[in-house]
């Protein structure tokens, strides 16, 4: 038998290692945090890795989890070994089929990264609410609590499902286990072969549905036999726990690690015992051992097999001496008698007593912990055990939060620690873009593989996509590490980004005498004085050793750009001494070679050069006795912020949200908007500065800005008298606002520095053509000046929207953006469309947003980018799910239509009381233009005034609903993953209803938010996850499909190719009294492009014919005109010139050049063919002369 090797991997990879080896068919759909399991499987299969039987598993990406599960069902029915990976609402989408699979006794394993089910909010993090929602499906449930277990119990699951015929969910905690990196022992194929029962496999295949042995399954049964037939499975469930234990015993024989249905750890004579499952059990294990070593008599039961429930095994695992039991559930079931594990434990004891097997009950209490990856620490375990020691232990408690509304939370002492002094604990604060996490993953591998030490790494990311902070938590030590919780007592703290010092408290986690490593932009001699006072104080008080390096300089000198990763990694090894210096350097270089070797020798060389130059630039900084700095850590939000922002959002902004008590949070998930303005993230190293003389006032810069950080206003020059010095303005060019002056102003602290505005600017300085009307400048020296300018600018009155041509680029850009400073990527291609939407219709827009990038930058706490205007109006926004967004948005429309109808009925009924003129005006208002809307709002105000004193039911109802008489704009927004794949059926139905909804598809041609998986919008030849060899199929043409209905307004827009057409399409779509679909080409970081040149990519998409621009307006057809207008010209650019500027296409030429050539040719043909087809369609749609078109019109 071949020797097992030690590997340093995360839980997802551990589970996928087994799943891939033991499957023939894998059907998946990406969902965080399970996606990497599918991605590993796909990569392994694409790379030719065979399964246990020497054949390469088929891996297929489906359109939804429901689809994946159904395919797994079909595969199992026909005799395949099959599995899938999922989490959260994805798992819930599988439930209908899971009942079927279990009912049909079909073996399969679903590997699940247990994740919070979205309720009052979405959360991508871990708890058991998803798996608990599947308890009644009949699936077996096996829980892993660590990375090693994720691999071991994956194997147990696959073996047990075959032998028991019960399908299994094998679950482990999302992120905490799925993304934790640990040094573990890797199971070999021989291990797996020894575990798999060949007879059971043969039996499974023999049961396969085949015309060679015809049979019928999936019948419909009637009251006569259904019930009896349903009970036929009982023996399988009765026997299943024994099968699982048998498999576990075989595992112990083969591999040496021993597992039981319930594993007990602790004193054999324990009086207090905790029961729980998942990663929390490892924490409890560590805490219980520490407490017992200090004289306590406590224990923990780790639940492995949760379904089928084996009460006898549970009771046998608990010492008879037990007096009190606390059952911890990582889920919440509002309204239930208790959480599920608690009730199961309770019933196990209760039944035992009732049946006379036991004489009495211990005290049994239940509580909730760790929802959405809330930290669960040994201190909390102690808190729970302390509760058990109380005279009357609290039941139905919570632990780990301050629940001050119904007072369920238990107190605990956060200072209680079980950290092993022999373990090195290091914290690294990095910027997403600087490569810190990647380097730390390498460090763990180095230590895990080059030393006898065990290693653990866990990584925390923030809620923003641009300029985000990452915190790496690394532990190394001679013994296996069970500490599945964050480090709060570090021997080593590294700050890789100077800007964090004034914002985040990094040193509260530093132990006395710890090392603080700082990446400084200043010379070593000046660094101390540049530190904020509070940081200096902590360094002195804790007697920290301070080291500094100008990592930016080393990175620049060695061609590393902004990536300081290998430099800081080298510093860590040099200072920590965890390996001898020379050995460490060699190990780092080897790791670099391994990681970057496939990207070419040059990349390796520059990283090596960075390593070599590091030590000469690393300095220990002497720490003076007193803190003397005049600089201070700044408050998270300014003083003038509203109380809710200061008290609730502020702490969240600086990663102190854990401290907020329940009472501070809204009970139904409703939050105020207009809060990104308080963040002032200052992540733009360079920001644009306006050159008024060169500016032609076209508005393009403001239009394309992804973060609404550059704006344009026209106003009365008299207002300039109060302007700060240096505030720039220029006479308005044009007629509409003659006499006004114009200012183009940058929001210096909100700009991300993407430079898209500069690229869009068409004006050039006549003396020096490299300069435009806006030019990038280093932010720090101009921050204060521009901050004052921007504050003054914001106070200037907004332009009267009735005075500008809103249907032009320039006119639209004088309108206030009601979407600002979102957390989207720097240079994002989606957000300019959303911002435009809010400028045009934001004060009456109600948005349904599919889960994805737009729901993250649109609604990820702490702050909201949606703005409230001076009248108190602004976009109202909600996200339901990923798959149901179109239907959800339709619901808005149905309410609005119903309420409007009712309000109009009431108006008619109350006509005499209210006055005929007002009622008639309200009923007949056209509401087509901004002026119409403004007039209607005035009428509604007058109506409300009249209704205010009235007491009749009808009058009160009308008052409640009066606002609906002003036309609302319903927007259904989402990405291509939603529109083309998971939400397509619903979207199609909603469009077909003919109702007045506006659908905006932000088409990035890939699943952007979950990390670049292929969608049906992905173009042929582009590389994406699940299309590693380049997507073989052409992009689906949603516009064409929608046009076939005839009554749907359809537009394809690409701002970078034709911004005027984009503005027109938005206005026409919104004005059309029926369904509208706008498909907006959105460049994306997942394309592998220079984001600054994103608009240029858009232009090329159009010029190459890949993405022709068009508008199909049924109103034109109704008027006897051609509804289809092609807004772009015949392809004038080679497809290659569009494609090969993007890594998604280009990388295939470097991995599979022959395939790339073929796919490129096909892509070129697609583009030309598409164009020809549209060209012909445009003629086909054109009505013959004299013919009156009858298409169009919505029959509702």
């Amino acid at each position: 038998m071949s020797k097992r090797r030690m590997v340093t991997i995360d839980g997802n990879q551990a589970a996928a290692h087994v799943a891939h080896a033991l499957s023939e068919v894998i059907a998946i759909y990406p969902i965080t945090p399970s996606s990497p399991m599918g991605e590993w499987s796909d990569e392994w299969s694409a790379g030719g890795r065979a399964n246990l039987w020497g054949t390469i598993p088929h891996v297929i990406e489906m359109q939804s989890e429901g689809g994946a599960c159904a395919s797994v069902h079909g595969a199992a029915t026909t005799g395949a070994l099959t599995c899938t990976f999922t989490a959260s609402q994805g798992l819930l989408l599988m439930i209908p089929t899971m009942f079927k699979m279990a009912g049909e006794l079909l073996p399969t394993v679903f590997h699940i990264t247990a994740r919070t089910v979205a309720t009052h909010a979405l959360s991508i993090f871990g708890d058991h609410s998803d798996v608990m929602a599947c308890r009644s499906t009949g699936f077996g449930m096996l829980a892993s609590g660590s990375v090693q277990e994720a691999m071991d119990l994956a194997l147990v699951s696959h073996a047990a499902t075959l032998e028991s015929r019960v399908p299994f969910m094998h679950f482990f905690d999302g992120f905490r286990t799925s993304h934790e990196v640990q040094k573990i022992e890797e199971l070999t194929l021989e291990d797996m072969r020894a575990m798999l029962n060949a007879e059971a496999l043969a039996a499974h295949r023999a049961r396969a549905l085949t015309p060679d042995r015809p049979m019928l399954r999936g019948t419909a049964q009637n009251p006569d036999v259904f019930f009896q037939a349903r009970e036929t499975v009982n023996p399988f469930y009765r026997d299943c726990p024994a099968v699982v234990q048998r498999v576990m015993d075989r595992f112990a024989e083969v591999v040496g690690r021993s597992y039981h249905l319930f594993d007990y750890v602790g004193a054999p004579d324990a009086e207090r015992v905790i029961v729980l499952m998942g990663s929390g059990a490892e924490v409890a294990h560590e805490a219980v051992e520490a407490l017992n070593s200090r004289g306590a008599k406590v224990g923990v039961v780790k639940v492995r097999l949760y379904r089928p429930w084996a009460p006898a095994a549970l009771l046998a695992a608990i010492p008879p001496t037990v007096k009190a039991v606390a059952v911890l559930d990582r889920t919440k079931e509002p309204g239930a008698a208790g959480e599920p594990l608690y009730k199961d434990v309770l019933s196990a004891f209760g039944e035992a007593v009732a049946s006379g097997q036991r004489t009495g009950l211990p005290r049994i209490v239940g509580g909730r912990y760790g929802l959405s990856s809330k930290e669960f620490t040994p201190a909390m375990v102690k808190g729970v055990l302390d509760n058990l020691a109380a005279a009357t232990p609290k039941n139905h408690f919570t632990i780990g939060i301050h629940e001050d509304v119904t007072h369920s939370s238990l107190p605990y002492d956060p200072k209680f620690s079980t950290e092993d002094p022999g373990v090195v604990r290091a914290l690294f604060y990095g910027l997403g873009a600087d490569g810190t996490v990647g380097a730390n993953k390498n460090s763990i591998k180095i230590i895990g593989e080059d030393t006898p030490n065990y290693a653990q790494g866990y990584f925390v990311y923030d809620s923003k996509k641009a300029g985000s902070m990452t915190v790496s938590h690394l532990r190394f030590g001679p013994k296996p590490i069970r500490s599945s919780y964050l480090i709060t007592e570090a021997n080593f703290v590294a700050c890789h980004n100077w800007a964090f010092l004034e914002r985040y408290d990094m040193l509260s986690s530093a132990l006395p005498g710890a090392v603080f490593l700082l990446n400084t932009p200043y010379p070593a001699s000046e660094t101390w004085d540049k530190l904020p006072f509070e940081v200096q104080q902590q360094i002195i008080a804790k007697k920290l050793k301070l080291y500094a390096i100008d990592g930016y300089k080393v990175a620049k000198d060695t061609g590393m750009g902004g990536r300081v990763n290998t430099i800081m990694q080298t510093c860590f090894f040099a200072i920590s001494g965890i390996l001898p210096k020379d050995q460490a350097i060699t190990a780092i270089k080897n790791a670099i070679k391994k990681e970057y070797g496939r990207k070419g020798e040059e990349v390796v060389k520059k990283n090596w050069a960075a390593v070599d130059q590091t030590l000469d630039n690393l300095h220990e900084i002497p720490v003076p006795a007193r803190a003397t700095s005049t600089l201070h850590v700044r408050p998270p939000v300014p003083e003038e912020a509203p109380a809710f922002v200061k008290e609730v959002l502020g702490p969240m902004m600086v990663f102190r949200g854990d401290e907020l008590p329940t009472s501070k949070l809204p009970s139904d998930g409703t939050f105020p908007t207009h809060t990104t303005r308080w963040e002032k993230r200052n992540i733009g190293i360079e920001i644009p500065v306006w050159d008024a003389d060169t500016c032609v006032q076209c508005g393009k810069c403001a239009l394309v800005c992804p973060h609404a950080a550059i704006r344009m206003k026209a106003y009365d020059p008299a207002l300039l008298k109060d302007a700060p010095a240096g505030f720039k303005s220029k006479k308005y060019i044009g007629k509409e606002l003659e006499g006004c002056v114009v200012t183009v102003q940058v929001a210096p602290e909100d700009c991300t520095g993407c430079g898209v505005c500069v690229e869009a600017c068409p004006a050039k300085n006549k003396r020096e053509t490299r300069l435009k009307a806006i030019n990038m400048e280093f932010q720090p020296p101009i921050r204060e000046r521009e901050r004052a300018n921007y504050a003054f600018f914001l106070d200037l009155p907004e332009v009267d929207r009735q005075k500008v041509k809103v249907n032009t680029v320039k006119g639209s850009q004088f309108l206030q953006p009601l979407f600002e400073y979102s957390g989207a990527c720097s240079g994002c291609g989606e957000t300019p469309y959303i911002k435009l939407l809010t400028q045009l219709f934001g004060d009456r827009a109600i948005i349904a947003n599919a889960t994805g990038c737009s729901s993250i930058y649109g609604g990820n706490l702490p702050t909201a980018p949606w703005v409230v205007n001076k009248d108190g109006r602004g976009p109202a926004w909600c996200n339901s799910l990923f798959e149901d967004n179109a239907e959800f948005g339709l619901g808005y429309r149905l309410t609005l239509d119903k309420h409007a109808e009712y309000a109009r009925e009431l108006l008619t009924r109350l006509r005499d009381t209210l006055g005929g003129d007002l009622a008639d005006a309200l009923l007949k208002a056209p509401q087509k233009t901004d002026a119409d809307i403004a007039a209607q709002r005035e009428r509604v105000a007058a109506l409300k005034k009249k209704l205010a004193g009235q007491t009749s039911t009808e009058a009160r109802s009308l008052l409640e609903l009066a606002d609906v008489l002003v036309k609302k704009s319903v927007w259904i927004v989402g990405g291509d993953g939603w529109a083309y794949d998971i939400g397509y059926g619903g979207l199609d139905h909603v469009l077909a209803t003919g109702r007045n909804v506006n659908v905006l598809v932000l088409d990035t041609e890939v699943y952007s938010n979950t990390g670049g998986q292929c969608s049906k919008s992905t173009p042929r030849g582009a590389v994406a996850k699940f299309a590693a060899g380049g997507k073989p199929m052409n992009k689906k043409d949603m516009a064409l499909i929608a046009m076939t209905y005839g009554n749907i307004y359809v537009a394809k827009v690409a701002m970078g190719a034709n911004d005027q057409q984009t503005v027109k399409a938005f206005i026409e779509a919104e004005a059309y009294d029926g369904p509208s679909l706008i498909i907006a080409y959105s460049h994306c970081i997942a394309h592998g492009i220079n984001m600054r040149l994103g608009l240029d990519t858009q232009k090329k998409a159009v010029e190459s014919g890949h993405f022709p621009l068009l508008r199909f307006n049924p109103e034109l057809a109704a008027a006897g005109q051609n509804p289809l207008q092609l807004d772009s010209r015949k392809p004038s650019l080679r497809y290659e010139d569009f494609a090969y500027e993007q890594t998604r296409f280009k990388m295939l030429t470097k991995s599979k050049p022959e395939d790339a050539r073929v796919l490129l040719q096909l892509g070129q043909q697609d583009a030309l063919q598409r164009w020809r087809m549209y060209e012909q369609l445009a003629t086909l749609f054109a009505p013959a002369s004299g013919e009156n078109a009858t298409a169009g019109g919505n029959g509702h």
Binding site: T32, P33, P36, E39, D42, E43, A46, G47, I124, F175, H179, G432, A433, G435, T436, V437, G438, F459, Y461, K464, K465, S468, T470, G561, R563, Y596, R598, K599, G600, E601, E602, V603, K764, T769, C825, I856, S1008, N1009, T1010, G1011, G1012, V1023, A1024, K1025, F1026, A1027, A1028, I1085, A1086, G1088, I1089, T1143, R1144, K1146, M1147, K1150, S1151, P1153
Partner: protein, 329 residues
């Protein structure tokens, strides 16, 4: 009619050699060139700088935005390996060699000494019959002296010669203070051939966009006068073979250049304009002209109009300038 000639020690059936261009980047057109009568081909250039740039760009874009946001820790699948080195080019050499019977000359444009020597060695291993070093160098740095630039050429040649045994030609620009002396230095340093001259793409200005853009213009026949002059001057002054390139479009051009002393003429623009089949037209016209003018072989005329052989050697010198001016008077 004996059109044969010897270039870089390779016996060629005629003096028509398609030069390094997009045409020689595809196997299909290489076959068509052979069918039309090409006596050898120079493959498109391998640009070391491009390889380096592509590797850096790939590294940058594959890591941009990664490990920043919990849901999208990466954006691309990780292929087992990328072919970022010269593999594709080397494969092209191998395929070209097996596709045609005429000699295949590989073309290399390096930026580092390591790149020049390593890729040259690999090209030889891949089966190239000879190498053309395309030192496409614009000396934009005003502090770089002419001596330093000249040394660069010689160093590259010497380094490559040390690692390969196949013949090596140097493709030069005409921008030397002393072109003759430079050619002789290279000759002495072991160049097996000199390709005269490289043609730099000259930038242009877009007046509407106020942008500089590289403007690729195909060569015109009068441009062959520059190589013509230098080949006429260098003939018999150097041991290296002489190849004329730039502006060769007709049989007359070929005749003139061979008479000036060229061993081969390299063709590009004319083939891009008219297609590989034009080679056959030129070849036919060449034969016809020679027959009409009672030439028996190409060897007979080679160098017959070189500076040494003409009645008025000063015609290739400055005096020529006076005459040209006078002709406008």
């Amino acid at each position: 009619m004996d059109l044969s000639t010897t270039y870089l020690g390779l016996r060629l059936k005629n003096p028509l050699v398609p030069s390094s261009s997009p045409l020689t980047a595809s196997l299909d057109s290489i076959r068509r060139l052979e069918d039309a009568g090409a006596s050898a081909v120079v493959l498109h250039s391998l640009f070391e700088e491009q390889l380096t740039h592509e590797a850096a760009a790939l590294d940058h874009h594959l890591s941009a935005g990664t490990e920043s946001f919990a849901e999208s820790l990466t954006y691309f699948p990780k292929p087992e390996e990328f072919r970022l080195g010269p593999e594709e080019y080397l494969e092209h050499i191998r395929k070209a060699k097996s596709a045609v019977r005429i000699p295949v000359i590989a073309s290399l444009n390096g930026v580092t000494v390591g790149g020049w020597t390593e890729y040259a060695r690999q090209m030889q291993q891949a089966g190239a019959d000879a190498l053309e070093l395309n030192v496409y160098y614009v000396a934009t740095n005003p502090s770089l002296t002419s001596q330093a630039v000249e040394a660069l050429y010689v160093d590259i040649l010497a380094a490559v010669k040390r690692v390969v045994s196949i013949p090596v030609a140097m493709k030069l620009s005409p921008f030397f203070s002393a072109t003759g002396a430079m050619c002789r230095r290279l000759d002495e340093a072991g160049a097996d051939g000199l390709v005269l001259f490289n043609r730099f793409y000259q930038p242009d200005i877009d007046l509407e966009k106020l942008e500089v853009f590289p403007n690729l213009v195909l060569s015109t026949p009068h441009e062959m006068r520059l190589p013509l002059r230098w080949i006429a001057i260098l003939y018999t002054q150097v041991k290296a073979s002489l190849a004329a390139t730039t502006g060769v479009a007709t049989a007359h051009d070929v005749l003139k250049l061979v008479m000036a002393g060229a061993d081969v003429t390299q063709l590009c623009s004319v083939l891009l304009r008219k297609g590989p089949g034009e080679l056959k037209v030129i070849l036919d016209e060449l034969t016809t002209w020679m027959r009409d003018h009672e030439y028996e072989s190409l060897a007979q005329m080679k160098g017959s109009m070189s500076q040494r052989a003409v009645a008025d050697p000063a015609a290739f010198e400055r005096a020529n300038y006076m005459k040209v001016l006078a002709s406008y008077a």
